[in-house]
Amino acid sequence: MKAALFCTSRYIGDAPQGVWPVPSQYCNPEIAEQSMAVTMEQFRLADVFGFDWVTVAEHHFSSLSLTPNPMIFAGALSQVVKRAKIAVLGPSLPTLNPVRVAEEFAMLDAMTGGRLIAGFMRGTPNEYVTYNFNPSESRARFAEAMEIIRRAWTEPQPFGWQGRYYQYRSISIWPQPAQQPHPPIYMSGSSPEAGELAAEHHIGLGFAFTTIAQATKASAYYQAQCREQGWEPTPDDIIYRVGFHVAETDEEAFDDMSKAPQRISLTTSNASINKAMAETAYYGRDEAQVTRTATRTLQDRIESGQLLVGSPETIVRQIERIRKEIGAGILDCPLAAQLGDKTLRSIELFGTRVLPRIREL
């Protein structure tokens, strides 16, 4: 198996919890700068300790994430992370200009000598407020934007695009991606619609902030859809995102987590958005979305596979379950908590004592 360190670059100062958008008056620019420096150092360590990828993502208007444009952070990472692949998982495709996304991804691939992993995301529900898009059109916009990007990466001559949601008279991007015909592509989603689209377009699929049981079901559906489309996905086509905190012993890891700041949920922090999203087709046939985002205790989250917490030995056992049940070959691991030196030690323990033992899974 492979593993990625995922950091949202959480603001390390005080900020209101359980609201979205978080009022920007609480953002101290100096602490924001420090927060991003902490993230950069954590990614640098991940590279040193053998993580296969480092992952950044797009989120807006929240202290959870200081990377509303993950491309910018990935650009900076390209100069710091020398070995690991840089995964942008990713831009919220339906709310962005797809030609710009194609250009920025291609730039990153060129700047990293072909180490880019390109994620196409639909974004959390709140992202549709951010740039004022109708979430009920998100799937259609996503599918069209994805096709524009692939064309922009592969067409050798200028072309125009007469779409349903996008119109361009001439596209011919420079630079082209270093990886030919294009970087590895993943999309995210536990719904049947996501599995079908990923299978149809022959791309990988990631399951984020879900449970092992739900991801196992979604993964089986995706794999069946791939076979229907005439191709066989490998474990490297399946990503499972799961937070982690490793310490020398289980007791220490649990004790650390009990002191960790409260988990921030973008999806459930605004009741009006939740209510409005329920009235759109945003979730499609994803029946598990309500339970997936429900608040759970630490123990519940560990048992259901939403968190890896414990000693290296305990974590390896948890990962074996993920590999066996979901069939995922790539773990995308957010930091379960920002605990200063303990978090740096957690990254080191994962890299030095967990990663070597999951390589052959």
């Binding site: 069209e144 096709e147 064309r151 067409e155 072309f159 695009w161 007469q162 779409g163 349903r164 008279r169």
Partner: protein, 169 residues
């Protein structure tokens, strides 16, 4: 009329005309089926197999044809193989603005063919109509019509958008 810039309100349309697309084009231009014998100028539209005849006419009457729109042309396939070498060899002499339109799901005139037209004709504009197949004129008539009307009216300057994004005054 939309095409005052190019000096003609007449469009000669060769080949099959699907009603949905034809009605949209006819709302902007006078559509005719045969080339006028006089010196009258005209824009040209041709679909699939009629592309060869349209290109030949544009070569024969450069003073009359103002702009040419080819919808799903089948003169060159997705692998770059040419159906009519003699005609394609003459296309370097084509002076009028040329737009080729390909549906992203068209198997007979696949979007991959577009690059080969462009390689042979540097001034050839290529546009992909998303989620459209060989029946592009029926599947996405408004999308095809907007392109064709804009191009017949403005030629190569259709590259620059003129519609407004203003929400409110």
């Amino acid at each position: 009329m939309a095409n005052e810039t190019l000096g003609s309100d007449t469009v000669l349309w060769l080949g099959e005309k699907r009603a949905a697309l034809r009605d949209l084009i006819a709302a902007k231009f006078r559509v005719i089926d045969k080339a006028p014998a006089s010196d009258e100028r005209f824009g040209l539209i041709a679909g699939s197999d009629a592309a060869a005849a349209a290109l030949a006419l544009a070569l024969e009457r450069p003073e009359a044809a103002t702009a040419l729109v080819l919808i799903g042309p089948r003169l060159i396939d997705g692998g770059g193989r040419v159906r009519d070498e003699a005609l394609v060899a003459r296309l370097g002499g084509l002076k009028l603005p040329l737009l080729t339109i390909f549906g992203t799901k068209d198997q007979a005139a696949p979007p991959e063919a577009g690059r080969h037209y462009r390689e042979r004709l540097a001034n050839c504009n290529v546009v992909f109509v998303y989620d459209a197949g060989a029946a592009m004129a029926d599947e996405r008539p408004e999308a095809v019509a907007e392109l064709a009307i804009d191009f017949l009216g403005r030629g190569d300057t259709f590259l620059v958008r003129q519609t407004s994004d203003l929400l409110y005054r």
